[in-house]
């Protein structure tokens, strides 16, 4: 029988905290482009201008992300809002290396020596995914092993960080699951038996397992009941407060963005059409598309 009697009194502070300065950009992205298809002469130099769709009418190539530039400071939440097909999910997948970006640069201040991480070796990318970035997917089946224990889902991340003491791993898993309000008695149940909201919370705990400085959240509350959504959003805010984790929150719902994000960028047809402080964007949207979105807010 495996005992988890008390939470670890002192846990080591993650190594990256020493390398972070609050006034230095944690994540910087320049010219991120993702293209599906060969491209042609007419679409090959994608300007960040206005397009009618992401698809080139001549060759059918889809430009899901067109030369995106943005950054993230430590501890801040960047919201990304846009409708289906805007490229926001693709952008996040490129950051997490689920998709291979066609071109562009991504740098993290916590590993300056690595240069452009989009071109790093697969070993290096794996390190980044395990230690420096956590990802929460809209569909929990993508982010979890549904037929394994929930504690196992968290433990897998710890194993990837070479933690090979079952007792300590279980203590940490219990701590994280409790933090996301999963009852301890259910920590060994498979997520397949949980409700949608609980599954998302397990995902969050898994993403936080190795104390990454950045969390990527892709439409995590979409499809959940409103009360459940509220609970998850509260959780996300409290995590930011307590752990100082920086986040990129992707949503098509401006209401979610309003609740969480300090700054926001609006995406349409693969390009960023407007960005700024969330309050300013909501109160005084400049771009006609943003105005449309804001006015549609219930």
């Amino acid at each position: 029988m495996i005992q988890v009697t008390e939470h670890a009194a002192e846990r080591a502070v993650p190594a990256w905290t020493a390398r972070i300065r609050a006034d230095e950009k944690l994540l910087e992205v320049r010219g991120l482009t993702k293209r599906y298809g060969p491209g042609c002469s007419s679409c090959h130099q994608p300007e960040t201008g206005e397009w009618h769709s992401s698809r080139c009418p001549r060759c059918g190539t889809i430009w899901a992300c067109r030369s995106l530039d943005f950054h993230l400071y430590p501890g801040e939440i960047l919201g990304v809002v846009g409708e289906s097909g805007s490229g926001k999910s693709t952008m996040v997948k490129c950051l997490y290396f689920d998709e291979e970006a066609t071109s562009g640069e991504m740098t993290l201040s916590v590993c300056p020596g690595d240069g452009n991480l989009l071109q790093a070796s697969s070993q290096r990318k794996r390190y980044v995914r395990n230690h420096l970035m956590g990802m929460v997917y809209q569909n929990p089946y993508l982010g979890l092993r549904m037929n394994f224990s929930s504690s196992g889902n968290v433990a897998e991340k710890l194993f990837a960080a070479s933690q090979f003491h079952v007792g300590r791993v279980r203590r940490r898993a219990a701590e994280l699951l409790e933090r996301v309000e999963i009852p301890l008695a259910r920590m060994d149940e498979p997520p397949a038996r949980f409700s949608g909201g609980m599954q998302q919370r397990v995902q969050i705990s898994r993403a936080l397992a190795n104390d990454p400085p950045i969390l990527l959240l892709d439409e995590v509350t979409t499809g959940l009941d409103l009360s459940v959504q509220a609970r998850v959003l509260d959780l996300i805010r409290s995590i930011r407060r307590e752990l100082g984790v920086a986040m990129i929150v992707v949503s098509h719902d401006l209401g979610v963005i309003r609740m969480l994000a300090d700054r926001t960028m609006v995406m349409r047809h693969g390009a960023i059409v407007e960005h700024g402080l969330t309050d300013q964007i909501l109160e005084d949207p400049q771009h006609p598309y943003t105005q449309l979105l804001v006015h549609s807010l219930l």
């Binding site: 092993r145 037929n147 990837a160």
Partner: protein, 430 residues
């Protein structure tokens, strides 16, 4: 549970061999010759050649005789024999357009140059057992053959070299032409150009050789075609069937099915320094070739084109060639159906490998079992220590985060299976 170790193996094997030979011969009324098998069971011989991956009708017939008619065993014998043969020459690329056609049909077109030639086929026979065959004699055979030859003006005598007909250029030119339907469609711009084939003359790349290199996924097209060409007919038919029935995306029509003899040539062996002399003709092989036509798609420039599927195998084995074409196309599409999964299809259709591994379960597995016994006994002892109740445990907060207690017997039996199930069906998560 106790089990015994097998001893006295040498004697047992020797006796088993003798017994097998006894069973092969004990009820023989007359000795079945290799020639009889080759000439009167030709479709079985063709199948065995195709699955063994060796075109040698005489040896295939011999293998069938030795294996008492078991096609998997016979294919195995051929494949093992092939291992011992040195590779002395590589033929030039054969062109089934040069085929001396026995049979040629199309389900896509009613009429085409050359026409529909049914050839020797049972497709339209009624499957009624012909009891008269029990009394067939050589005289009956000769009488039928004589009459048929007269009707059709075939030469009265069999040539000295069995099944080696007139093969000179004049002889071939005298035969009717059967242009490839796929070529006709390509000329009209309705079908995708062949990849790396005749359409791209002078840029031929070396095909992958599955007998000299291990398959690494994703597999190049030549590797796929080779695996399919010597795949087991039954396995491939089942997978192609699944694809057609909806567990997949493939609904083709047969553009062309042809069965016939294709000439094989090798580069002149004494050619030095690439002086390209006339290739040397070394003989003909009987092949079945199927080209299927699949619903059109848009290519990179947005044009609508038919997409082909290709099947080719030794001898006359039509269902295998059709299945091969379906599977080849199916593997080019993406989806979740088993017939679209390259590893699933290519790794499980080889007769020698599948039969071998399934049969290997007959080997002793005492050690594996003994090791599991140790685990289950330990688990039972551990469960005996705590309350072993039925059903889910009572949730308890705060104190020991305990382990689920199912009854250890049921549990340990399921453990390996359940874990394996969970693991392989787990998500892509990392």
């Amino acid at each position: 549970m106790a089990y015994t170790a097998v001893t006295g193996g040498k004697e047992a094997i020797a006796e088993a061999e003798k017994l097998t030979e006894f069973f092969r011969l004990k009820d023989a009324q007359a000795i079945l010759t290799v020639g009889m098998i080759e000439t009167q069971l030709r479709l079985l011989v063709d199948r065995v050649m195709g699955e063994g991956g060796l075109y040698a009708p005489g040896y295939a017939a011999l293998a069938l005789k030795q294996a008492e008619g078991d096609p998997a065993e016979a294919a195995f014998l051929l494949r093992a024999y092939r291992s011992t043969l040195p590779r002395n020459h590589v033929s030039t690329v054969i062109d089934p357009a040069d085929m001396r056609v026995l049979r040629r049909i199309s389900s896509s077109f009613r009429d085409m140059p050359g026409g529909q030639v049914l050839g020797p086929t049972r497709d339209y026979t009624h499957r009624l057992l012909k009891f008269a065959l029990r009394e067939e004699t050589m005289d009956d055979a000769e009488s039928f053959l004589g009459k048929y030859r007269e009707e059709t003006s075939l030469p009265r005598e069999r040539p000295a070299d069995m099944a080696e007909p007139a093969t000179d250029r004049e002889g071939r030119a005298a035969l009717p032409a059967f242009p490839k339907i796929a070529d006709l469609l390509r000329k009209q711009g309705l079908m995708k150009a062949a990849e790396g084939g005749r359409a791209e003359e002078g840029r031929e790349e070396e095909p992958f050789d599955i007998t000299r290199q291990k398959l690494i996924f994703p597999v190049p097209r030549s590797g796929r075609l080779q695996m399919l060409a010597r795949g087991e007919t039954g396995a491939m038919t089942a997978l192609a069937y699944s694809s057609m029935r909806g567990y997949g995306a493939v609904h083709p029509t047969i553009g062309e099915l042809r069965v016939g003899y294709v000439p094989v040539a090798v580069p002149y062996p004494l050619d030095e320094g690439g002086a390209r002399g006339e290739p040397l003709y070394i003989g003909e092989i009987l092949l079945t070739e199927v080209e299927t036509i699949h619903p059109f798609t848009q290519n990179a420039s947005g044009e609508a084109l038919f997409v082909p599927g290709y099947g080719l195998c030794f001898g006359q084995n039509e269902v295998k060639a059709i299945s091969m074409a379906i599977l080849e196309r199916s593997l080019e599409t993406s989806g979740t159906a088993p017939a679209q999964d390259e590893e699933f299809v290519l790794l499980h259709i080889d007769s020698v490998e599948s039969n071998g591994f399934v049969s290997h379960l007959k080997l002793p597995h005492y050690i594996t079992f003994q090791s599991s016994l140790d685990r289950i006994r330990r688990a039972q002892r551990a469960a005996g220590g705590k309350e072993a109740g039925e059903g889910a445990p009572e949730p308890q907060t705060g104190t020991p985060v305990g382990v689920k207690t199912e009854t250890a017997t049921a549990a340990a039996g399921k453990t390996a299976e359940a874990d394996k199930e969970a693991l392989t069906h787990g998500s892509r998560a990392d």
